[in-house]
Amino acid sequence: MADLRTDFLGIKSPNPFWLASAPPTDKEYNVRRAFEAGWGGVVWKTLGEAGPPVVNVNGPRYGVVYGADRRVLGINNIELITDRPLEVNLREIKAVKRDYPDRAMIVSLMVPCEESAWKAILPLVEETGADGIELNCGCPHGMSERGMGAAVGQAPDLIEQITRWCKQTTRMPVIVKLTPNITDIRGPARAAKAGGADAVSLINTVSSITSVNLDTFSPEPSIDGKGSHGGYCGAAVKPIALNMVAEIARDPETHGLPISGIGGVTTWRDAAEFMTLGAGNVQVCTAAMTYGFKIVEEMKSGMSQWMDEKGHSSTSDFIGKAVPNVTDWQYLNLNYVAKAKIDQDACIKCGRCYAACEDTSHQAISMSPDRVFEVMDDECVACNLCVDVCPVEDCITMERMPAGAVDPRTGKVVSDEYANWTSHPNNPAAQAAE
């Protein structure tokens, strides 16, 4: 049986599945249920400074995007950090950590961008016995307008500053949680590293409006006829998160900086993908909010089955394994030639590949009167659209052309040599270099 135990910054947990700082980790009751259900760790819902807590709206705080069959693809929210008193949260954190010493307990924090504010709260957190802290530099709504959350996360110098204050004040490992609402994620990640961060976690939610009510013209979720941009999360944001994780993992300046992967993790497979791109563990929010805590069982069994099948005995065997394969477009092998191939036995004759290729791609699929769909190799550019829209898995596949064969589209012999854009004759830069 594969060993799912992970060690992240010296913080041990029985599996790499943590719950992200959000409603599932807002209070003792939920977190105890989560640990009973088998989650490896939690990042407690973000705490603010002492004093009167923030207030939330009293109307709907979530909006949603559905796929077929009302399957939740993404949720957005306008919730703020915890609205419960600081001392109550601290007391509960301490009690839970005492009862579950083998689970990771991270406390998420967001206080004003002043040294005194950070210095005041850190000893209180330390006193709970928590394993580490996560600095919430990502919340895109409500708090950002008060100069916190994403407002910090979008200003690398502020990230560096607060990280440094924390590192100077506490012995606890410091994880900096990043916002995706920025053009280049490497800036904030480098700043966190410069400030001494032990790790970064990402992504927080993506600024969004999920829908507009066409009767009232209010964005959803609607509060008395008005809406505010919220934070988008769930399966829909996974591709954005994966790319950002990979960018940090392969940036020479931050390579090796531990990463906690967040954003749309819904199944064991998603988690494994994040980890191969360099995440040491993952955090989950929307999937748990959609299906409840029990999904962690599938995540654990799925990942261990896959690890057993692949012969990975521990998670460290595959963490970062995909990072070397993430490259820039200009280095992709232009001598790799493929053609789409339709398995006639598997084909159910829906014709979606035909509509896609004929109307929007390269007119490379033929259709006979009795609905036989075939790829015309002399037109196919291997764009993959037909594969993507085919409802039957593996019915259409991309087959690589062997070296020496002639590509009927270009009339050129397929070469087994690697050649990319940097040396391509059509590249003006390449010609200039000659």
Binding site: A68, I348, K349, C350, G351, P391
Partner: protein, 436 residues
């Protein structure tokens, strides 16, 4: 109190509650949630095979997408543009041999998108609202006689009226609707849907309903003289003969008459049915007569068909439906004689392509015998005929200029409601093209 075991032919074999339950909707209506789930399964195929399989060529993927996106009314318009009796067709079409058989998800998973029920969801939604979805074009001043107010006649009349023509719709029976009103199984069209649908269809305006029987008080020459064009949608009124001894006995009836009585009964508790019923035939009429006898409380019901299961024109779905109600299906038997309380059948075999008796016989108890061996056209108004039907070419053109025909009475197509609608509609388009 009579029961299923009461000998002879008797009414009131079941309680009112049992009857109500037995004759409730065969396929219940979708609620909006069920419709949403079912609609999500559609792949929006390119040049979809279901469209090709529908005799009226409804754009099925489009109307399902319209349901999906919360506009069942727009979906209904998509349906009605092709098939004004889309509401009835949603209930009575053998979808398992039409659109749903062609659905790619039938190929993929053996479970097609439930097109029929989705169609009903859309059409019911729109029909529940006030008004008629189409408006008439400016009046053309052309007058057309449509004879027979069944699906073919109704579809033809509606399309002509929509084009601005003035239609007189003649019907021999006291009620319009044709077999929708008098023939279709009661559990497929509940709550007087056939009558409500005709009333809704008439909302287009420009159609005058008139009583009249071609061949009796109406003549084709008279109609031709009075109108700019004539469409015949008179269906198949006659019934084939059994050619067995005792065919004229009291308990022997045409299945279509029995069903017509059933459809018109104000209280099914008063409708008599035999304790032991035998239905001769292998089509939809045979299945409907058998199933409804059972639902009325007959103790045993047998369908006796002279060929094998594969040749039966009732679909496998219909056969299984009958079996699920406890109807026994007997294949390769033909009737020889009807006696006082039973029927004698002979086994058949096919030699040299001809059906012959094997000599081996079988007797079944029978208080009532229903003949469902096909309907015929009894009308003779001087038109060229082919295989017992009015010969037509193109969009329902008969041998006589200015006279069109469609539906069961004309050649071509299966004898189905939806086919009759398609033929009526297409003839209307052809008449329109020839008049303007």
């Amino acid at each position: 109190m009579p029961s299923p075991m009461t000998p002879g032919i008797s009414s009131g074999r079941l309680t009112a509650e049992q009857i109500a339950k037995n004759f409730a909707d065969l396929h219940s209506a979708f609620d909006p949630h069920e419709a949403a789930v079912a609609a999500d399964r559609c792949y929006f195929c390119y040049d979809a095979p279901c469209i090709t399989a529908c005799p009226t060529s409804i754009d099925i993927p489009l109307f399902i997408r319209q349901i999906q996106t919360g506009t069942p009314e727009a979906a209904a318009r998509t349906i009605f543009e092709q098939n004004i009796l889309g509401g009835m067709c949603a209930r009575v079409c053998p979808t398992e041999t039409l659109c749903e058989e062609a659905c790619v998800r039938e190929a993929a998973e053996g479970k097609p998108v439930e097109i029929g029920r989705l169609q009903r969801h859309a059409t019911d939604t729109l029909m529940a609202q006030q008004g008629h979805p189409f408006t008439r074009a400016a009046e053309t001043g052309k007058r057309i006689a449509v004879v027979g107010a069944g699906p073919a006649g109704l579809a033809c009349a509606h399309r002509l009226a929509m084009k601005g023509h003035d239609v007189t719709l003649y019907e021999a029976r006291p009620k319009p609707g044709g077999l929708n009103e008098f023939g279709i199984a009661a559990y497929k069209t509940t709550d007087d849907f056939a009558a409500r649908e005709v009333q809704w269809l008439m909302g287009i305006g420009g159609i005058t309903q008139a009583s009249g029987t071609l061949g009796e008080d109406l003549s084709l020459d008279g109609l031709k003289a009075e109108f700019d064009a004539v469409f015949l949608g008179v269906g198949l009124g006659g019934v084939n003969m059994l050619r067995a001894h005792g065919e004229d006995r009291e308990g022997v009836r045409d299945a279509v008459d029995f069903i017509a009585d059933l459809r018109q009964a104000s209280d099914l508790l008063d409708l008599p049915v035999g304790r032991n019923v035998v239905v001769i035939g292998g089509g939809m009429t045979a299945v409907d007569a058998a199933v409804q006898s059972k639902l009325l409380g007959a103790e045993t019901v047998t369908i006796a068909y002279r060929r094998g299961r594969e040749q039966m024109s009732a679909s496998r779905f219909e056969q299984d439906l009958a079996a699920s109600y406890g109807v026994r299906l007997l294949f390769n038997v033909m009737p020889v004689a009807v006696h006082e309380d039973g029927i004698e059948l002979e086994y058949t075999t096919t030699t040299d392509g001809k059906l012959v008796g094997t000599g081996e016989r079988l007797s079944l108890a029978a208080d009532q015998v229903f003949k469902a061996i096909g309907q015929t056209l009894s009308l003779d108004v001087g038109l060229a005929m082919e295989a017992g039907k009015i010969a037509v070419s193109g969009a329902g053109r008969t041998s006589m200029e200015g006279v069109w025909a469609g539906g069961d009475c004309a050649t071509g197509g299966d004898d189905l409601t939806v086919t009759a609608v398609a033929e009526g509609r297409d003839a209307a388009e052809d008449i329109h093209a020839s008049l303007v």
